[in-house]
Symmetry: C2
C-alpha cells in the first residue's frame, strides 16, 4: 500500500515511521524537517525502543508524491483551509483519506471537498513531541481508534486497523466514529486548554487539587454534551472521567501539544477542540459553561490564529 | 480627629494624604515607604492635580502611634491574620475602625477581635498604584461608600462620610454595607481575576470580545448570588453590569491590583474576593460556576499565599 503522510509533525512522523519500519511504502510531505530527513533519515526516540530509518521518501511539495492508496492527515487543524489543496494531487479514484487530527469537524472538511465515502477518522492516543529536525520523541501510548466517517465498520476500516497493528501500533476499528471523537474530547478539552492557559503540564495540573477538580468538572460537562449527540451508546460519566484521569496520572510531566504550541507562539487548535464541540453541544441543548469559559480565556490570548 | 492608617499601600497613602491635606491629623504605619517619607514627605501624582506633603507623621511600628479616634485599614486581605495585633495598640474605648479592604469577611475579622460596634466598612472605587517609595499615583475615581457593620445609617457613619467629602473625596454613607460590598464584587470578581490570570489590563480585557462577554457573564453570576443574600434591595442585573462595564470602558489601560500583585510575585487576595463570596453564594443556593472556575485557575498559580 502506497501511503502519503500530509502534515508530518510529531504525530505524522511517528506513525509514518512505524508503518515504514513494518514494510509499508510511506511518503512524507515535509517542511521543517525536509533537509534533515533527506540528509540523515528519521530517528524515533521511543519508550518502546529507539530506531532510525536511514532512507526516507521525503518531499518538499505534494505534487512530487503522486497518487497514493491512503492519505494520512496529521495537519494542525488551524491549517485546515489548506487541506483540500494539499490532498487533491494525491488522489486517484480509490484513495482513502484518514485524518488523525484532533477535535471535531475535520472529516466534514474532507467530505465536503472529496466526498464522504473517501473519509475515515482516527483518534490517536499518543504522547509525542518533535525534537530536532529529523527526530521525533515518542513518550508513551500510541493507540489509535479509527472508523468510517459515513458508515459503521467496513472491510476498509478493519484492514487499516490491521495494518497499524502489524506495524506495532495498537489499533481498533470502531463502528461509531463520533462517539470515539467525543471520548477523546473528554481528554483534549481539559488538558489541552488548561495546559496552554496555565503553562502547566498534565502532572502539574493533576497534582494541584483545584485544577484536578476542574479537570473532572470539565470532563463531566463534555460527557453530558456528548451523550446529547445521539451516540450509539452513552459514555458513562463518572467512570469514564475517572479512567481518563487515572490514565493521565501515569504520564510523567507530559506537555500537551497546545501547551507547546502556545509556548512557541504558534496558533492553537481552538476551532476543532473547542468551537465546533461547543456549537454541537449548544445545538443539542447542553451548553458547556466551563468549557465555553476556558475557550474564551484561550481565545483572548490567541492573536496568531487570525494570521493563518 | 486623630487617625491611623494601617496598611498604607496605594489606597492607604492616597486617602491618608487627602485627609491630611484637608487638615486631619493623620498617622501612617509604613513599611516599604517609611525611609522615603521621613526624608522627603509624600507625593501624590493625581489626575486631579499633583500635590506634595513635606511633613508626614510616619511610623515604623504601630506602638509608637498611640491611641487614635479612627483606624483606617488598607491592609492587603492576605495579611488579615496580622490585623488584630496591628490595630490593638491604637484603640481606646471609643475608637472606630474603618476597613477599606477588598472583598468580604474583613469586617467579620475585626468584629470578632474588637466587637462589632467599633467596625465600619468602606468600598473604595479608586484607581491608584504605588510609585517609587514616598509616591502614589492616583489614576482616576476615588469615591467611597461606607457603612456600619452592625447597624444602618448612624451619626458616626454620616460624620465620617462628611469628613471624606471635606477632604475632596466623594463619599456617601450607606445603610446596607453588605449590598455595597456585593456591588463592588461585581467589579472586583471579573476584573481582578481576569487581569491576574491573563496579565491583561481592563482595557485589553474589554477590547477583546471573548473576554468582554466573559466579564458580563461573571458579573451576572455575582449579581444573582448577591440577590440571594437577602439584601435590602436587589441589584438590577443587566443594568448594573452594563453600568460597571461602561464605567470601566473609561479607564485607560488600568491595571487592577491583583494583576500587579501577580506580576510582582505577591500573594493574591483570593480569600476575600473569591473564597468568601463563593461560600456565601453556595450557602444561599446560588453557586457561581464561572466564578468558581476563575478562582480555581487563580489558585493553581498561587504558591505564595500559603507562605503568608
Amino acid at each position: 500500500m502506497r501511503i502519503a503522510i500530509v502534515g508530518a509533525g510529531a504525530l505524522g512522523l511517528y506513525y509514518g515511521a512505524m508503518l515504514q519500519r513494518s514494510g509499508v511504502d510511506v511518503h512524507y510531505l515535509l517542511r521543517r524537517d525536509y533537509d534533515a530527513v533527506v540528509r540523515h533519515g528519521l530517528t524515533v526516540y521511543s519508550v518502546q525502543g529507539d530506531f532510525h530509518l536511514p532512507q526516507v521518501k521525503a518531499y518538499p511539495a505534494v505534487a512530487e508524491i503522486g497518487q497514493v492508496d491512503l492519505v494520512i492527515v496529521g495537519l494542525k487543524t488551524f491549517s485546515n483551509h489548506q487541506m483540500a489543496a494539499l490532498i487533491r494531487p494525491l488522489l486517484k479514484k480509490t484513495t482513502a483519506i484518514l485524518t488523525l487530527q484532533n477535535g471535531l469537524g475535520n472529516e466534514d472538511v474532507l467530505a465536503a471537498a472529496f466526498g464522504s465515502e473517501r473519509v475515515l477518522g482516527g483518534i490517536a492516543f499518543l504522547c509525542s513531541n518533535r525534537g530536532e529536525p529529523g527526530e521525533v520523541h515518542h513518550l508513551g501510548e500510541g493507540r489509535i481508534r479509527l472508523g468510517e466517517f459515513a458508515a459503521g465498520l467496513t472491510p476498509r476500516s478493519e484492514a487499516l486497523a490491521a495494518m497499524f497493528r502489524s506495524a506495532g501500533v495498537p489499533c481498533e476499528a470502531v463502528a461509531d466514529l463520533r462517539r470515539a471523537r467525543w471520548e477523546k474530547l473528554v481528554w483534549n478539552i481539559p488538558f489541552n486548554g488548561l495546559s496552554a492557559l496555565l503553562d502547566k503540564d498534565v502532572t502539574e495540573i493533576l497534582t494541584f487539587e483545584s485544577t484536578r477538580e476542574l479537570v473532572q468538572e470539565l470532563m463531566l460537562e463534555v460527557i453530558v454534551a456528548a451523550n446529547a449527540q445521539g451516540l450509539s451508546r452513552e459514555i458513562a460519566g463518572p467512570e469514564f472521567s475517572a479512567q481518563m484521569i487515572a490514565f493521565t496520572d501515569q504520564m510523567d510531566h507530559y506537555r500537551p501539544s497546545m501547551q507547546i504550541d502556545r509556548a512557541e507562539g504558534r496558533p492553537l487548535e481552538l476551532e476543532a477542540i473547542y468551537a465546533v464541540p461547543l456549537r454541537q453541544a449548544a445545538a443539542a441543548g447542553m451548553p458547556m459553561i466551563r468549557v465555553d469559559m476556558l475557550y474564551r480565556l484561550l481565545l483572548s490570548d490567541e492573536k496568531l490564529s487570525s494570521l493563518c
